[in-house]
Symmetry: C2
Subunit: 430 residues, 2 copies
């Protein structure tokens, strides 16, 4: 009995806690929506400075997180994502300065026009309101996500993974110091002060009156849970099963450079290529050099029958391989019937993230760019350009594979919505 | 036993039916996304002509719907929404011609820029994909919604209410005739061929692999069900609890015209004003004339203590009245402390739809326009301008009170998303 009522009480406490956070965020968001660009930039620049000043405290906190993670035998990849050092703290601080330097989207007039009756209509960018961000091990997300929300005039409720809780807490304190210096409410950026998993459940489905949008930043299972349970709109990305299609009119040297870069520059990013499609018409000239280049670079190759014939090191690809987001030095290789074959393959197996065609034929390129319905389609360029900074949009909170609201890199502009401001002189509707 | 298995079989049949519709819509949407503007316009114009030609068949079908509705003793308001006559058929036909005349949003370049590395980036409008529309009694929605989806390059799955099933079926046949004439797949616009309510449940939560977005068009209970159950993104409006605030610096004559028009021009539209807020500083001069104007026009007035003192016909307003969307000749009247009092009231009770301030003071107007976070904010104009056609956007599928993707009137542009088209010359990422 007693443990049941203890659990019930704990549940009630966390309900109350999260609702308090939600209410405070709504209040703060109203002040923040009207804050000047200068005030927001002061907060960001001051936070950047405090992050640098407090590097020792941040490293100490990160040391605690690393100890716990090692004790739990977390994977090397996860430990690397969690680890902070002087260079990474400096990068976090610089990122805040860069976000301060971005143009403020709030209040900009996206369109304006006059009506015959004299009404003047403006479509004006306004913040989304309160953004909930659920992330996993990387502690720098605390700074990045908090700063992007602040710059775009949104109050943020950040929920870090339990692995990064000590690091995230100290980083959050630095953000609060910046808000304080700028005279903005500290509730503009709140960090959920508990790692109880019930908090995530509440953000997904128990706080819709406070949260305007949720942004999941993490692995497949987090994103899947958010999509299944969320009762508020979500901006997030699912998989990046990205393709490079090498056409019969591709320059082989360019194709080799693009394929190697798209697959291997970094294998763990969502813009990394996972499948190479090759036009049957250039199998004789292009297939073997590309497969050998990949194998020589240490990439595992899984191919269809034609690709397997190139080298005994090529393993057979199964139907499942065409769907896979390896996020590793593995690539699937398939021969297709020209650009239409490539489009059909991508339509069937792709995740609408990022795809590239390599060809010197402009008509074939245009057919691919129009026919592929992904967030990003490229001609003669690496899929690894799928990135807000590379697009010139500054930092981003993720790459959206949703179709509504925002597709591709989600930067400060994509964290706003709009309202219509209509100025009249007494007009009534006939 | 047998009835259980019959029910199970029926359920299976409807599952299979809806999935067949979904798959066909996805296939059609791919052809439609690449269709030319001219081809879509031919379909719309041909459908408009067939609607006119088949007016007798439409009226006969509508007669069946009206008979059923009368037998079920549906309300006079519902019967009116359901009823078609020559004039309404003509309006439906003209509406298709108007939609054909709208600019085609698909393929337009919303933004483009160059990167220092030579990449050229374009943000290009593309259709959303497959749109599910669930509507109630008004049969003209079949034509309007189908046409708006077609123009914006989206395949539509329309689910009409059982009341309008005969009318909707004949109208849908006319749309199909237009598609046929243009050489477009008939599956671009599909009407769910059953009024079984299980079809609605499937559209909400069993067809997410086929549907990109759902648009509910109907009363509060439909919208609430869609919001509670939908597993696909929804574009829809909730309530329009719209406000007019009459400021101390309002011209009384202008205020009277705007208040009467905002409340009474049509009381059943979502842009109708439901609450009148009056600045305490002009109670002596403005309150009585406005209340009497409303009473004289046949409007019921529910007021706070000050408003009640104006006339014995003013009934007391309860707390609940400030939240109400009457959609009737009833208005709530409250005295507030200047523009900040108006903003606070609207923030608390409003539905973020449409609000108007009447004032000759530009600074006060700007404070209201910036401080109110509704889809549409107006200065010196009637809230009844909340309408796509009045905004110059052409026909609309509704007024969104969502914050993401689309706010305010949802026209053809709002039924699109975008993708990034990136053109390079062999760029790889360093």
């Amino acid at each position: 009995m007693s443990s049941v009522s203890d659990a019930a009480r704990a549940r009630e406490d966390i309900d109350a806690l999260m609702h308090r956070l939600g209410r405070a965020a709504v209040t703060a968001s109203r002040a923040l929506a009207l804050a000047s660009t200068a005030q927001k930039n002061v907060a960001l620049e001051a936070a950047a400075e405090v992050l640098r000043e407090r590097h020792t405290a941040i490293l100490q906190a990160n040391g605690l997180d690393m100890q716990d993670a090692q004790a739990k035998h977390l994977s090397a990849a996860l430990l690397d994502r969690l680890r902070l050092d002087e260079r990474r703290i400096e990068a976090m601080s610089s990122s805040l300065i860069e976000i301060a330097a971005l143009a403020d989207p709030v209040g900009t007039v996206a369109a304006e026009w006059d009506r015959p009756n004299g009404l003047r209509i403006q479509r004006v960018r306004v913040p989304l309101g309160v953004i909930g961000i659920i992330f996993e091990s990387r502690p720098n997300v605390t700074a990045d996500a908090g700063a992007l929300c602040l710059k775009s005039g949104n109050a943020a409720i950040l929920r870090c993974g339990s692995e990064s809780r000590h690091s995230s807490r100290v980083i959050h304190e630095c953000l609060c110091a910046g808000l304080g210096k700028a005279g903005l409410p500290l509730e503009c950026i709140q960090l959920v002060p508990t790692v109880d998993r019930a908090a995530v459940g509440l953000m997904l489905s128990g706080m819709s009156e406070f949260l305007d949008v949720l942004v999941p930043r993490g692995g497949k299972s987090l994103v899947a849970r958010v999509r299944a349970e969320a009762r508020v709109p979500v901006i997030g990305h699912l998989e990046g099963n990205c393709h490079v299609y090498v056409d019969r009119d591709a320059d082989l040297q360019m194709a080799r450079a693009i394929v190697l870069n798209a697959k291997l520059r970094r294998t763990g990013v969502c813009g990394a290529a996972e499948t190479l499609l090759i036009d049957r018409a250039c199998v004789a000239t292009h297939l073997a050099p590309l497969v050998h280049a990949l194998l020589d670079a240490g990439c595992e190759v899984r191919g269809d029958a034609t690709a397997q014939a190139v080298d005994t090191k090529v393993r057979p690809a199964s139907e499942d391989d065409w769907y896979r987001e390896y996020l590793d030095a593995i690539i699937a290789v398939r021969v297709v019937e020209g650009v239409d074959g490539a489009i059909a393959h991508i339509e069937r197996y792709g995740s609408e993230h990022t795809e590239s065609i390599v060809t010197q034929n402009p008509a074939t390129a245009e057919r691919f760019l129009a026919g592929i319905d992904s967030a990003i389609v490229l001609h003669n360029a690496s899929t690894q350009f799928a990135d807000g900074a590379e697009f010139g949009m500054g930092a981003e909170i993720g790459i959206s594979t949703d179709r509504l609201h925002a597709r591709g890199p989600v930067g400060v502009e994509q964290l706003t919505t709009y309202k219509y401001v209509v100025r009249g002189s007494g007009q009534v509707r006939p």
